[in-house]
């Protein structure tokens, strides 16, 4: 008792200043930016469970689809990532999906992530104004970083000078791949709607100038926005971010994916080569460690942008060595 009193007497001032400092940082965290609430300490602590990216000799199928690739994931052990509503940056939202199962494999050349989650409705179109797509995204810290509670690295869209690489799979991009011109057009949603755009050159209603004006007078296409571009040839968008509101499409797209919706559940496989030439991409080394985080959008609940189901922690992932290593 006497000893502890002595301790308090000796270190009292230091303890008091520590307490004051921590409360000061708490206040600082509360006011990070307008519309952004501060983050708690545990969000800066990565999850304990480690995802093992199993080395599997994937027999790469001619058509990359879930059914052909599913077998390769059989021996991989997955982790369950808990999801919750996004409650820090405006607009808040999400909360309809509680969790997703993630499995990962690599074959020394390509890395594959399989994400499975329950969603009673398939929303694979975003043409009507009130319709939103189902989507999933994986996020990786850019560069070789060790994430510890001492070294704050935001698990939510990264931070200034701490960029992240994001892979955003979109259900409607997958539907786009299956149609002529590789972009579902307004007729897909409104088959009986009148429009002046008869694309048949032998029709008496064909108007060449009108048809060729589509690209010029579609702002998104003229500005070469990847979301508006027909014939993207992929279902996953490769992006970077440095905090809320900074999400930017990469000039060079490297990621692809495939999906299957069955019995009220989405299975999405996202794949990319372990190494790329792009300095804005995350790189994977067999035997090495990385971190990932994820978010799921439920189109039926009007999820889009920050209105999403997120994991609030980084998850470590370790790549198994390849057979010859």
């Amino acid at each position: 008792m006497k000893r502890s009193y002595k301790l308090v007497k000796r270190f009292g001032l230091a303890l008091l200043s520590c307490a004051l400092l921590s409360s000061a940082t708490a206040v600082y965290a509360e006011e990070t930016a307008p519309g952004v609430k501060g983050m708690s300490e545990e969000e800066f602590t990565p999850a304990k469970e480690v995802l093992t990216v199993k080395y599997v000799d994937v027999k790469k199928p001619y058509h990359m689809d879930v059914d052909s690739l599913k077998g390769s994931f059989q021996d991989a052990t997955g982790i369950t990532v808990p999801l919750q509503m996004q409650d820090k940056a405006f607009p808040n939202g999400g909360g309809s999906i509680q969790g997703a199962e993630v499995k990962a494999i690599h074959d020394g050349i390509t890395i594959y992530f399989q994400i499975t989650w329950n969603d009673p409705t398939r929303n694979a179109q975003a043409i009507a104004i009130q319709e939103y797509r189902d989507a999933v995204a994986l996020m990786f810290p850019l560069g070789a970083v060790e994430i510890t509670p001492a070294e704050h690295f935001s698990p939510r869209m990264g931070d200034r000078e701490k960029p992240v690489n994001l892979w955003h799979w979109k259900s409607d991009w997958e539907a786009d791949l299956l149609v002529k011109g590789e972009l579902e057009d307004v007729e897909e949603r409104y088959p009986n709607m009148h429009d002046d755009f008869n694309t048949n050159p032998y029709s008496p209603y064909y108007h060449r100038d009108l048809i060729t004006s589509i690209a010029v007078l579609s702002g998104g296409r003229a500005a070469d926005n990847l979301i508006s571009r027909p014939g993207r040839g992929r279902t996953v968008e490769d992006l970077n971010a440095e905090g809320f509101g900074t999400l930017t499409t990469q000039e060079h797209q490297d990621v692809n994916g495939c999906s299957k919706f069955e019995d009220g559940a989405w299975t999405v496989i996202i794949y990319r080569s372990l190494i790329t030439q792009d300095p804005h991409d995350v790189q994977f080394v067999p035997g090495g460690k990385t971190f990932f985080n994820m978010a799921v959008w439920n189109g039926a609940e009007q999820d889009r942008n920050g209105q999403k189901n997120i994991s609030t922690q980084w998850h470590p992932a370790v790549l198994e060595k390849v057979a010859w290593q």
């Binding site: 975003a126 057009d185 579609s218 998104g220 926005n225 979301i227 509101g245």
Partner: protein, 403 residues
């Protein structure tokens, strides 16, 4: 949130960004009393900007019949409901010419309601569904009618409707700009025009949701949103017709009823737009209580019930209608400038002319002088000259029947 001054509300209000007014603000005055709803403005806009694929439902400019019409349907009623039942409470005993010309709004704006209700987004709003956009002139010419009245007489008709001409208000505090989570919407410093960056937009539709006037629109073809661009190439003087001078937008220039005058709101009291809005106070903002400080101003229709008009244009309605019904010498001259030129008028001057007419309107003496009004361009050069009395040209009897 930061505190910014909104002179429509006569007070400071909460907004996510700091107050940053443009050098001059794109603005227009619409005289509702003269509109015949011919939709020439609507078609001028359509044929210039929204005739393309995926824009079939898009009308950046539209004219709707009030009170029943609305594009998208019931947009105003739905947004008014979202703010509160006390959305039209004003304190008008104390006014300041510069800071609070209409008095002080005591209710909540769309931004303040979202903050008070802890909605965790910047403003209240809703996304209208496709069916709500589908019939842009729904309710056309449908009047409100009290069946017991045989005749309607001024000051308020018992059987009434009026036309409301709408385009993007290029607000000083845009709801769309506040709502965009990735700052893809920006307001230009040089003229206050609000634009959506077509490269940065990702089609989240937060702007569609939180613009109270519902003027950003989602295009299914490109999967991103678009909005009125205030014909900015014309505003920048890119059209060869005006030889580099700023030119009014397509919808303004096409106005058959001569109800529109477009220009810039600035500090020059001899700028016709500034004079009509800030000095004569004959033109009023649309739903100022939303809190976005919209920049299209309306001369309210003199026959509609004042309570309805006050909800729509704020407490300045009585003064505006009184001034419009018995116009002053200067007001009559400035109103003669409407649609006399496509070039934007930056300043006006009046040369006095003889008295040509005298009468009594609603017990007030009215004198009409045939003054000459001159409009000057940005460079100070005269671009238009007209008289209050429309000039009459009598054809030579020899050519009575010639075309």
């Amino acid at each position: 949130m930061t505190l910014v001054h909104n002179w429509h509300l006569g007070r400071r209000m909460e907004y996510p960004y700091f107050e940053s007014r443009p050098k001059r603000q794109f603005a227009a005055v619409f005289n509702i009393n003269r509109c015949i709803a011919c939709q020439t403005c609507t078609m001028a806009c359509k044929s210039a900007w929204t005739y393309n694929k995926g824009q079939e439902f898009m009308w950046w400019n539209n004219v709707e019949t009030k009170p029943y019409g609305g594009y998208p349907q019931s947009w105003d009623v739905k947004t008014l409901r979202l703010i509160d039942s006390d959305n039209n409470v004003w304190y008008t005993d104390d006014k300041d010419e510069k800071l609070s010309p209409y008095g002080v709004y005591e209710g909540d704006t769309i931004f303040e309601t979202a903050a008070r209700k802890n909605l965790n987004q910047w403003a209240v709003g809703y996304v209208p569904e496709d069916k709500e956009w589908r019939a842009p002139n729904f309710g056309e010419d449908v009047a409100v009618s009290k069946k017991q009245d045989e005749f309607s007489t001024l000051p308020e008709h018992s059987r009434w409707f009026f036309y409301l001409q709408r385009l993007c208000n290029h607000c000083t505090y845009p709801g769309c700009l506040a709502a965009c989570p990735r700052k893809a919407i920006y307001k230009r410093k040089e003229d206050g025009i609000v634009l959506i960056d077509q490269k940065r937009c990702r089609g989240y539709r937060k702007c569609v949701e939180q613009c109270p006037y519902k003027k950003p629109m989602y295009r299914g073809l490109t999967r991103i949103s678009e909005k009125c661009i205030a014909c900015y190439p014309r505003i920048e003087g890119k059209d060869p017709l005006t030889e580099g001078r700023p030119m009014e937008t397509r919808c303004m220039a096409a106005c058959v009823g001569q109800i529109r005058l477009q220009g810039f709101l600035d500090d020059n009291p001899k700028n016709p737009v500034t004079w009509l809005i800030r000095h004569a106070k004959v033109a009023l903002p649309l739903y100022p209580q939303f809190g976005t400080e919209p920049n299209i101003y309306y001369i309210p229709p003199r026959w509609a019930p004042r309570s309805y008009l006050k909800q729509m244009f704020g407490p300045g309605v009585d003064e505006a209608i009184d001034k419009f019904m018995v116009p002053s010498r200067e007001l009559l001259a400035v109103m003669s400038l409407f649609r006399m030129t496509q070039s934007i008028i930056f300043e006006y001057a009046i040369e006095q002319g003889p008295k040509v007419f005298e009468t009594v309107i609603h017990g007030k003496k009215f004198e009409m002088f045939n003054d000459t009004v001159i409009g000057y361009g940005e460079d100070g050069k005269e671009i238009v000259r007209t008289t209050v009395e429309e000039p009459i040209h009598v054809r030579d009897p020899k050519h009575y029947n010639s075309i």
